[in-house]
Amino acid sequence: MATVIELIGVSKVYGKGKNQVPVLDDINLKVDEGEFVAVLGPSGSGKTTLMNILGLIDTPTSGSYIFEGKPVSELKDRELAKIRNRKIGFVFQSFNLIPDLDALENVELPLIYAGVKPAERQTRAAELLDLVGLSDRTRHRPSEMSGGQQQRVAIARALAADPPLILADEPTGNLDSRSGAEVMNILESLNGSGKTVILITHDREIAARAKRKIEIRDGKIVRDERVKD
């Protein structure tokens, strides 16, 4: 299996001088294609920072991050944006849908930046909304949908450009257990179709559905175990 991401001695420190707060401390991590990884840890342990670094929206203070064999620190804004656009699908805890756009338009967004033509974009977005069971909600705005529905729109959006890697930062954190279960089913089936999924959670039950569990405490990986396979 090809390695998708590799972190070598990655640290992240917030603030400057005496106010420095270390968030990640010498993280070494390798994730292969097709893995389903759950990152566990209490709040403040650095999970989200790790996820942001993996998602290329944050940069490590030291250490190197190699994405599909390329050191990320050498990439320019345009290349980083392209990876975020085509290679990574982000699912956030708070959904992060754009409130002024309806479900279909939100899903279209990554495709706009990918330069896909309008007609093709709409067809693709509609297909994805259908896939997450929201074909009857295409013209609804986020405020007109439940949390579970919003998160499914966000998943459809993450899948729009058909990225090989899905990063989900506590995707069930703001959902009731039934919606949470639905979201987990979708993520599981995505992994089943060959996508690499990295999931952040503090819920052990949810983590139990992943094939590999990594536990973070105080910015360090304290446990890394493969559950199934």
Binding site: N52, G55, I57, D58, D77, R78, A81, K82, R84, N85, R86, F90, F92, N96, L97, I98, D100, L109, P110, I112, Y113, A114, G115, K117, R157, A161
Partner: protein, 391 residues
């Protein structure tokens, strides 16, 4: 990302907050409208003045004789010599003016009695409403005939037909042979209150009767300058090198002066209006900054989904250009409307100068680029993680 997508995004966010967008545009609208209105009015006024000057006659050269000491005017013979010797002159008319009382059957009025010759009507573009102008014979034979201005005709004769009537000036009786069409007021005062008589008669009538003004018509626009040069050297001979004894004007000089003045006026008014356009631009920048702060999270989301810095920059820059550009379009339209309103309400003459319209509009676009660039680059430079965290 295709360009149309940026425009669609910008239009969407502009129409989302209609009132705010309109108020933002208003600064530019007022700025552009005032540029258009003010410039249209000054241009209109300028072209009217130019037309007035041109209506004085084509290729006209005017000479004012002030003279020095006793030699303060020219005699008729000197005038004849001056004009016949000048090869560039087609026509010449002397003017000898005196303010005298004209009487018709007890009605009297003070008028400018102007002694001149048969060429005067053609040179000054005078239109004879009734009767005829002098002939060469009238001048040569010193006939006591008069051509009167329209106001003089009205005041002296009322509803009576002046033709063939006799008026008295000093002790001499003149037969009215023609009435001029109204010409209106010009720089030289009313042209309608005059009575024209042959120069040869005027000389004896007024006693002192020198020629203090000459109108000449050059053969073509190209020979106006040679004609003036010739005239200058002749007059310098006559007045023994005293350059202050006479002044020569031609239309081009007067036109240049007027054009310079109105040009300066246009620039000044345009400048004042441009300041309001600048203020409008600052308004745009202010709103763009507010809008970017409000949409910080959206920017973070867009970046996480694969928007490049350039995508974000263009999105907001185009938004600001559309705001100011449509402000420019509405400004041009309301400027036209305001100018037309002034034209019909106050009778001001208005002339639309396309270069200024284009200039005002492109300036408004430029305002959008200039004042949108800073907010847009600030948006583009946002750190995605921090932007996502923004609530």
């Amino acid at each position: 990302m295709p360009f149309s997508a940026y425009i669609k995004m910008a239009l969407r966010s502009i129409t989302r907050k209609k009132m705010r967008s309109f108020l933002t545009m208003l600064g530019v609208i007022i700025g552009v409208a005032s540029v258009i209105t003010l410039v249209s009015i000054t241009q209109g006024t300028a072209s009217q003045i130019e037309e007035n000057i041109k209506s004085l006659g084509a290729n006209l050269i005017a000479v004012n004789i002030t003279g020095r000491g006793p030699a303060n005017s020219l005699t008729y013979e000197e005038f004849q010599e001056l004009s016949s010797k000048n090869p560039f002159i087609d026509n010449a008319a002397p003017v000898s003016t005196a303010r005298l009382k004209a009487v018709y059957r007890g009605e009297s009025m003070d008028v400018n009695i102007t002694g001149t010759n048969e060429a005067y009507a053609a040179i000054r573009n005078l239109i004879i409403a009734r009767g005829r102008f002098f002939t060469t014979d009238d001048v040569r034979l010193r006939r006591s005939v008069a051509v009167i201005g329209s106001t003089a005709a009205e005041e002296l004769f009322g509803s009576t037909n002046p033709l063939g009537q006799e008026i008295r000036v000093k002790n001499r009786i003149f037969e009215v042979i023609g009435v001029l069409a109204p010409k209106g007021n010009t720089i030289g005062g009313s042209e309608d209150e005059i009575i024209l008589i042959p120069i040869t008669v005027a000389c004896t009538l007024t006693g002192r009767s020198g020629i203090n003004q000459i109108y000449m018509q050059a053969g073509s626009p190209e020979v106006v300058q040679p004609a003036i040069d010739h005239l200058t050297s002749e007059l310098l001979k006559k007045f023994r090198g005293d350059e202050d004894s006479f002044r020569i004007f031609d239309q081009t000089q007067v036109l240049e002066t007027v054009q310079q003045t109105t040009g300066a006026m246009s620039a000044m008014l345009g400048g004042i209006a441009a300041i309001s356009l600048l203020v409008g631009g600052i308004g745009i920048m202010n709103i763009m900054l507010v809008s970017i702060t409000e949409r910080t999270k959206e920017i973070g989301i867009r970046k996480a989904l694969g928007a490049t810095k350039q995508d974000i920059l263009l999105q907001f820059l185009i938004e600001s250009i559309i705001l100011s550009g449509s402000g420019g379009v509405f400004g041009v339209l309301s400027g036209f409307a305001a100018a037309y309103a002034l034209k019909s309400a106050l009778g001001i003459s208005v002339k639309f100068a396309p270069p200024f319209v284009i200039l005002a509009f492109s300036f408004s676009l430029l305002v959008g680029v200039f004042f949108g660039l800073y907010p847009a680059s600030r948006a583009a430079g946002l750190n995605p993680v921090e932007a996502l965290r923004y609530e």
